[in-house]
């Protein structure tokens, strides 16, 4: 699997896009989606919520387990992906595209987010 070069990655297996007009997109990686198995339910933060980098902001439920969703950056949620709420399988089929989770108006991005190559190395060892 390939992790898009233009994204940044957290060790909790979320990705963060570059901000456009201060707003960045968040999702989970293909590696995480594969590890979860079929995602059947996503609980996302609500628009207007403040999320904090490294803290839980939702959950992803799959056949076998439930996993916390961690925000890779701090800021205010500006949009959630209603398509993925209605069809959580998008997380598995298109984790870096149609399966994105929410957008955040970023106030702080941790400086320890990983590059695509760093994340690939991290994920293969986890």
């Amino acid at each position: 699997m390939s992790n898009p070069e233009q994204l940044r990655y957290s060790k909790e297996h979320e990705w963060l896009s570059d901000a456009e007009d201060g707003v960045a997109t968040v999702g989970i990686t293909e590696h995480a989606a594969n590890a979860l198995g079929d995602v059947v339910f996503v609980q996302l933060p609500e628009v207007g919520d403040t999320v904090t980098a490294g803290e839980t902001c939702g959950e992803l439920e799959s056949t076998k387990s439930v996993s916390d969703l961690y925000s890779p950056a701090s800021g205010e949620v500006t949009q959630i992906n209603q398509d993925v709420v209605d069809d959580p399988a998008l997380v598995n089929s298109a984790p870096f595209e149609g399966g994105w989770l929410f957008k955040v108006k970023v106030t702080e991005v941790p400086d320890d987010l990983l590059t695509a190559d760093e994340y690939a190395a991290f994920a293969s060892g986890s």
């Binding site: 198995g37 079929d38 339910f41 439920e61 056949t63």
Partner: protein, 376 residues
């Protein structure tokens, strides 16, 4: 004590070549899923799935008193089992607690006494030890045959058609819960019409050295019928929809078969050993309790929401805990979460509205009759 190394089945390389996600299950490295477990599940419901179940534990009982030994050691009436037939039964301890649930096959010829007991992987040693401990005084031999068999299951409405391509055996004539020895893909096999999915299907006990060839022959024969390899993840959701118990979840040593709603497996009217069998007195008391004042009952729960209950979650009525979830999963067939749970009898009637505490939030659930799914 060091943990023994994880055991691998004869099909291990095949699973890896298929890109399976593997998981440790009862000390075995087993396929959890190959791709989407939901698609594997739906394939078994609509076409067919191919499973490696070689972790299951086979124990052979032979000798002139093999049937009598099993009547004494298990709760069922196995001496009455006809050759070529199989029975779902249990082995209990003296206080009636369930040590394991089993399928017992009667093999061989009419004038012979040969049985194969199939135990859950996690309990196989316990079952073997109990059978050995209970064999004193019986003209019967208990043999550990766990390494002698690989077990491949083909399950689903297309299973019979696929199997027919690989054997001259009368597949259509084989009844549910029956099994006989013949050839599959030219290899000796015990062909059993049993399974754990709620669908028609077959379990094929073959030599480990033949497992890859039989698996590949089934894969080729099933290509046109959309046969897909299936992992343990979908096996769990298939059996849950079918309302079938899983040891360690719905069954345990702290429950009797009557507590689990499976009192029908206990046969008090045995003609051997003067009716004696291990656990008899405790089970008679348990039968009485279940008939008059059952503490809890095993029920099905269906969600109104989308959050999934898991084993151990509390079941609530009016804020009070009235039960506990034993298994829960998103049901691919129903499209919503389902669970099995033990709940207090007063709250066990179908239609009762209850809640499951899912990480602090009370999610609405309704009691339904089991199974959730029955094949048409």
């Amino acid at each position: 004590m060091t943990e023994p190394a994880t055991r691998k089945t004869a099909l291990d390389a095949t699973h890896r070549a298929l890109g399976a996600t593997m998981t440790d299950f009862a000390g075995w490295d087993m396929p959890l899923r190959y791709g989407s477990e939901r698609e594997e599940h739906l394939a078994v419901r609509s076409a067919a799935g191919l499973f490696d179940l070689s972790h299951m534990g086979e124990i052979t009982i032979t000798g002139p008193q093999a049937g009598e030994l099993l009547d004494y050691a298990l709760v069922g009436n196995l001496s009455k089992l006809a050759v070529g037939r199989a029975r779902y039964t249990m082995i209990c301890d003296e206080d009636g607690g369930i040590l394991d649930d089993l399928i017992v096959y009667r093999l061989g010829q009419q004038d012979e006494q040969e049985y194969m007991v199939v135990a859950n992987a996690a309990n196989a040693q316990t079952v073997l030890d109990a059978l050995v401990a209970r064999q004193d005084g019986f003209g019967a031999e208990v043999r550990d045959d766990r390494d002698k068999y690989a077990l491949i299951a083909v399950q689903g409405p297309a299973a019979a058609g696929i199997l027919k391509k690989l054997t001259s055996y009368d597949v259509d004539g084989l009844r549910y819960y029956a099994g006989e020895r013949d050839l599959v893909a030219g290899k000796p096999a015990l062909i059993a019409r049993t399974g754990y999915t709620g669908e028609d299907g077959f379990e094929l006990f073959v030599s480990p050295q033949d497992a890859v060839e039989v698996w590949e022959a089934l894969t080729r024969a099933g290509g046109d019928a959309n046969l897909v390899p299936c992992g343990l993840s979908c096996r769990d959701t298939l059996r849950l929809e079918a309302g079938m118990p899983l040891y360690g979840h719905e069954l345990s040593t702290s429950l009797t078969p009557f507590d689990a709603g499976l009192g029908r497996t206990v046969k008090f009217e045995k003609t051997t050993n003067e009716g004696r069998f291990v656990g008899r007195d405790a089970l008679a008391a348990a039968a009485e309790r279940a008939a008059t004042a059952p503490p809890r009952k095993l029920v099905g729960l269906v969600a109104e929401g989308r959050r999934v209950p898991r084993a151990g979650f509390a079941v609530l009525a009016g804020g009070d805990t009235v039960g506990e979830v034993t298994s829960g999963a998103p049901s691919p067939t129903l499209g919503k979460p389902i669970a099995m749970a033990y709940v207090e009898s007063a709250h066990a009637a179908p239609g009762t509205r209850l809640a499951v505490d899912i990480r602090g939030s009370q999610e609405p659930y309704e009691v339904v009759a089991l199974p959730f799914y029955k094949r048409g």
